[in-house]
């Protein structure tokens, strides 16, 4: 339940991350030289990044658009997933009815449903949000449902012996128990969400985003931009993951701290 290795100091962690990136970029450069690859086949990471940097004024609003779709879709998917899981755990018949449908929903190829979604909901934000939410909600439902199902029955019995009201038992015992699994689901969702936004833009879009830019760069053989934007999307994905992790660490302090932060209640201290 708890993963508590000895925490590395942040400077070491950042150092390791930088080293990992350097390793990837190094291997990338070595591959270009070793296989004698032309820039229109595989540009160097440096020129890919340059392509993005030089075009940043044009790319910034597109990036914002894609980030917006990713973020709103992510929150939407997480909310739907969480509420669905809670309702399913409270009402067993709903769970039996809905669970097979959930699994089926994930078997539908996302790329394939993008087109029908555009037909149904037009060229605006909505189909993109639906695709992102579609991807994000599933790991959330599965994890939260698991968390709710694995609450120690003895703890529930203890609550009963204490004459807990059903609502308080839910708020004080069941709900907090969903937090850790919820964040496991959100971390999976965070990395996939960007992909969802890009797929949504690929089908048809009235508003330009990084996905649409990727398509046009691809068709105009601007290979450096294709790789540059791909790198940019990767960075967005990683940052989303880190953001979820940061929120997790403040929301579940008991997972990694020995004591609660004192909320200056001197009254508690009195013997």
């Amino acid at each position: 339940m708890r993963r508590r290795g000895r925490a590395l100091p942040w400077i070491e962690r950042v150092g390791l991350a930088v080293a990992a990136i350097a390793l990837i970029f190094g291997a990338w450069n070595v591959a270009i030289v070793a296989f004698d690859l032309q820039p229109f086949v595989l540009p160097t990471p440096q020129s890919s990044i340059k392509a993005v940097a030089e075009n940043w004024s044009a790319l910034a609003p597109l990036t914002w658009q894609t980030v917006k779709e990713t973020a709103v879709g992510f929150v939407l998917g997480a909310l739907i997933g969480f509420v669905l899981a809670v309702v399913m755990s409270l009402f067993r018949p709903v769970q039996r009815l809905v669970y097979p449908a959930l699994i089926t929903s994930q078997a539908v190829p996302i790329v394939a449903i993008a087109a029908p979604l555009v037909i149904l909901f037009g060229f605006g934000m909505l189909p993109k949000l639906i695709i992102v939410a579609w991807i994000v909600f599933f790991p959330v439902v599965v994890n939260v449902l698991d968390g709710l199902a694995h609450i120690d029955p003895d703890l529930i019995r203890l609550a009963k012996v204490m004459n807990a009201s059903r609502s308080r038992e839910f708020v004080q015992i069941r709900l907090p128990a969903t937090l850790s699994p919820l964040f496991s689901g959100l971390k999976i969702g965070a990395t996939y969400a960007v992909t969802g936004a890009v797929i949504g833009e690929w089908t048809a879009s009235s508003q330009q985003g990084l996905g649409t830019y990727l398509l046009s760069a691809n068709s105009s053989l601007d290979v450096a931009s294709v790789f540059g934007v791909t790198l940019l999307l990767t960075v967005i994905g990683v940052l989303s993951f880190l953001l979820v992790m940061a929120v997790e660490s403040t929301a579940t302090p008991w997972d990694h701290r020995a004591t609660a932060r004192r909320r200056s209640r001197p009254a508690d201290r009195l013997p």
């Binding site: 339940m1 708890r2 508590r4 120690d152 003895d154 703890l155 019995r157 203890l158 609550a159 009963k160 012996v161 204490m162 004459n163 807990a164 009201s165 308080r168 038992e169 004080q172 015992i173 907090p176 937090l179 579940t252 302090p253 008991w254 701290r257 020995a258 004591t259 609660a260 004192r262 209640r265 009254a267 508690d268 201290r269 009195l270 013997p271």
Partner: protein, 270 residues
């Protein structure tokens, strides 16, 4: 000393009401009798242990007294009130500490209040006082995962005490601890009991523990469970480590062990 109090009340002409009465309680699960008729009476302030092999129905008896399980027949009364099948009447503690990981020591101690009416500042204050008094003062803001097994069980007992129930049910509370820690905890529990006049029903499979802590030891035998003997433990209080090596203690232990193991011999005889 406790028996003296009871006697004094009786001599005063008014027979005191027993605190807890388990009256001809039996229990059957799926046509399997788990408890034959069990009778047990606890006076106010009495510490009674139930010893018996695993599967003898100790835990079922506990669940019945706590109100979680309805007996097939018989009744449980508290201060003369029928509380059969009613929860929220007694304190309850298990071998598993069942501390809530997201609550601090204080937060866990006030769990009972939080689950019923919401924990107030006064509850937290009282919890801090209890915890400080019984050796948890440095850990008020700790999360359970940062505590040792013994400390966690102390918190669990404080949580049980904070319920302010007159009767505490402790189901092998030290069963998962190593023997060193267990002895520390027993000594600690003795000191807690001296302060509070709580009536305690204690389940264990450890005969030493039962004799060391109790005013009476009820020996239970299994399938279906019933109380084979009720041994009064007249060892003087306060008790300490020395109590464990007195001839009286050994004699009591011999009696309890022979009672516990007699049925097994009888069964194996032709």
């Amino acid at each position: 000393m406790r028996q003296d109090v009871t006697r004094a009340c009786e001599e005063g002409g008014r027979v005191t009401e027993p605190k807890l009465v388990v009256d001809a309680v039996s229990c059957t699960f799926d046509a399997t009798p788990v408890l034959a008729e069990v009778d047990l009476t606890l006076e106010q302030g009495e510490f009674v242990s139930i010893v018996g092999p695993s599967g003898c129905g100790k835990s079922t008896l506990f669940n019945i007294v706590s109100g979680l399980v309805r007996p097939t027949s018989g009744r449980v009364s508290l201060d003369g009130r029928d509380v059969t099948g009613r929860t929220g009447q007694v304190g309850y503690m298990l071998q598993k500490d069942l501390l809530v990981p997201w609550r601090t020591v204080i937060g866990n101690i006030v769990l009972g209040a939080a689950l019923t009416r919401g924990a107030t500042r006064a509850d937290r204050h009282e919890a801090a006082r209890l915890a400080t008094r019984y050796g948890l003062g440095e850990f008020l803001d700790h999360y359970p995962h940062a505590l040792s097994g013994g400390m966690r069980q102390r918190v669990a007992l404080m949580r049980t005490l904070a319920l302010k129930a007159d009767v505490l049910l402790l189901d092998e509370p030290f069963g998962a601890l190593d023997s060193q820690t267990r002895l520390d905890m027993q000594l600690w529990l003795l000191s807690v009991c001296e302060d509070l006049n709580a009536t305690i029903l204690f389940v264990t499979h450890d005969v030493d523990e039962a004799i060391f802590l109790s005013d009476r030891v009820a020996v239970m035998t299994g399938r279906p469970g019933s109380i084979a003997a009720d041994i009064p433990i007249e060892l003087p209080r306060p008790r300490g480590i020395d109590t464990l090596t007195t001839p009286e203690f050994t004699e009591l232990k011999r009696r309890a062990l022979s009672l516990l193991h007699r049925p097994a011999f009888e069964r194996s005889a032709p």
